[in-house]
Symmetry: C2
Subunit: 375 residues, 2 copies
């Protein structure tokens, strides 16, 4: 069941679209100046009053309220200029020559400008988010990336432009048994083919290595993704693309505590901080465990819930992203149990318990929950 | 100038040696019991009174004082058993079946034992270090690894056993423009060939990506290593192996502050925590910058030294690992300047300044310092 995606380079299309939007922002400013008006532009308001959970999109999103940045308002002048600076840097210094940059690079890049453009990096980060909101595309689309720290392993062949030969290059993601870094190249690569029929996202590096070592990719026909805690946006985008383009279901295998469940839910439903963006969420992703029921069923080693764990669990119970019956049920069980377990606690049974018993059991259980309509 | 290493698999040799040492530890215990003696074993004392900087080895090392663990002493009984438990787990559950594990896995693995073997992970981590000291080999040699987070990029072809085909597989480390994860496989791989004539170790992910993007590997004939802050031990071992086996000089390109210099120095001279081990240091590694002189020469954006920065710099000045003239000189300049700069601050000149001017200048300067005997 090898799958082929349609021709056309994902990376090229994204680049063209972002470039066009950035240039159009600049052109509008020029047009307004030529018409002897104060230039202005609009973007969605990103404050919590304008962020809501969209049941149809199944993610956090921004409402209809807009903010205007106008050169006629002296209080707007600085953010107006900062936004155009970032937009121009992204179009001219990054997208056009084909360079990428980090949030930190962008901050430093402005230090050579005549006036100091940003007070500190948190100010420049915030303006980058404004540019995202103005053009409705993520910063990765205009080549601003966080540091890579997440990895992937499994039978998926991807293709991208080779740096050295400038030709197309294909790699299969089982190439290096330590996993492949999820960096800018991989996130924007084209999917060529896969024999996998699912994606398993794994919170900890130790468990990721364990699964590679036990050939879990073959046993479960799975692509394995190491999240390294809260998944970076590039990783969430790659997971979404695999789900959308290759139609593979996505499972999140995380620590058995409210923080683990939330790592799952940011993959599924997004974060408030990225509410102004689409293309990062995988609404059909399924939380696999460790569940509270797993902890008692397998008698796993546990730690006591802290006060913070309890408060967080109560918050999640009320969160619109946590309204599926099985999530509600398990969160309540956690509150009753007042115990948590890391996913690596499965090692207490044996090094191979996770592939011999835990995962096979879970896939059966999830199939049952689906039939019962609880997932 | 492609280089070939001698035949024989590095990974196999290390595995055999570690396995033999672990088994011999166990055999000695049996022999003593059969002779109706209380079993005991010895290891170097690891407290600071027995750790010194060895001028000849050019690293921290342990002195001649030993500690004995004897089953005849009731206070020794628990650590005695714990050490044998870890040694047995390493030999039988890891090396023999060819599995790897993390520090955390090892801690959990003992939870199924009849009695709870370790109070917490810091206790089991400590016993793992004891086993290192007993057999004089690093935990990576008996397949206990930390999470991978460091990456490498450059023209170096390595070979390792392919998981899927069980045959030999070669990869060139320019394969993925996002860099290759430095995990267990890569650290123990065999070096097949390289056209590089140096290694540049880079502190931040942003600068690492910048250098890949600007083809610094080709321009400077270099293998690029992303340290991700303080380099993990696997990364330090890989750097040492490239230096020792391929005879490539190693440069550390880090933030311009005492913490950056120290990242360099742990690569060069090791840490007190790993004083009982050899094979992790690269004594000839050179600190490239950012130096205090770079900060003034290039008028880089800076931050004020904090009190902690000052205290740390004064400590380093007295540290036996910091006695080279150029290190002393630059540390004193930092104290006078009371300013620090991140390596990414070079971006304030332009995105390509680092490859167009900074690195070429530095290589000339280092050559000059070497001629003057300051490095």
């Amino acid at each position: 069941m090898s799958k082929q995606t349609k021709p056309g380079t994902h990376a090229d299309e994204v680049k063209k679209k972002a470039f066009k939007k950035l240039v159009s922002l600049g052109k509008n400013v020029y047009t307004q100046i030529e018409a002897e008006n104060y230039p202005e532009f609009e973007m969605p308001l990103r404050s919590s009053s304008n962020i809501y959970y969209d049941q149809k999109m199944r993610q956090y999103t921004v409402g209809k309220r807009k903010v205007k940045r106008s050169a006629s308002n002296v209080r707007h002048l600085k953010p107006f200029l900062q936004t155009l600076y970032v937009a121009s840097f992204a179009a001219r210094d990054l997208l056009e020559p084909g360079r990428t940059s980090t949030l930190r690079d962008l901050y430093y890049s402005s230090e050579s400008a005549l006036a100091k453009m940003f007070k500190n990096q948190s100010e420049s980060d915030n303006v980058i988010t404004d540019v995202e909101a103005v053009i409705g595309m993520a910063r990765e689309d205009f080549n601003i990336f966080p540091d890579a720290r997440s990895t992937i392993y499994g039978d998926l062949t991807v293709s991208f432009q080779d740096k050295k030969t400038k030709g197309k290059r294909e790699i299969n993601l089982t190439f290096n048994p330590d996993g492949q870094t999820i960096g800018p190249t991989l996130v924007k690569s084209d999917f060529v083919k896969t024999s996998a029929d699912k994606v398993i996202c794994i919170e900890s590096g130790g468990m990721f290595q364990r699964l590679i070592e036990e050939d879990a990719d073959e046993q479960f026909n799975a692509i394995l993704v190491h999240l390294a805690g809260q998944a970076p946006r590039g990783t969430r985008r790659l997971i979404r693309r695999i789900n959308a383009e290759l139609k593979l279901p996505v499972y999140a295998f995380v620590d058995g505590d409210p923080w683990g469940v939330h790592i799952y839910n940011v993959i599924a439903s997004g974060s408030a901080a990225a509410a102004h963006l689409i293309g990062l969420t995988t609404p059909d992703a399924i939380w696999m465990g460790l569940t509270a029921s797993d902890i008692t069923k397998y008698e796993l080693p546990t730690d006591q819930f802290t006060k913070g764990d309890t408060v967080r669990t109560v918050q999640l119970l009320r969160d619109p992203r946590y309204q599926k019956p099985y999530l509600q049920e398990e969160l309540k069980k956690f509150l009753k149990l007042k115990q948590k377990s890391e996913q690596q606690s499965l090692t207490s049974k044996s090094l191979t318990f996770v592939v011999d018993e835990y995962l096979p059991d879970k896939f059966k259980e999830i199939a049952k929950l689906k039939r019962e309509g609880k997932i």
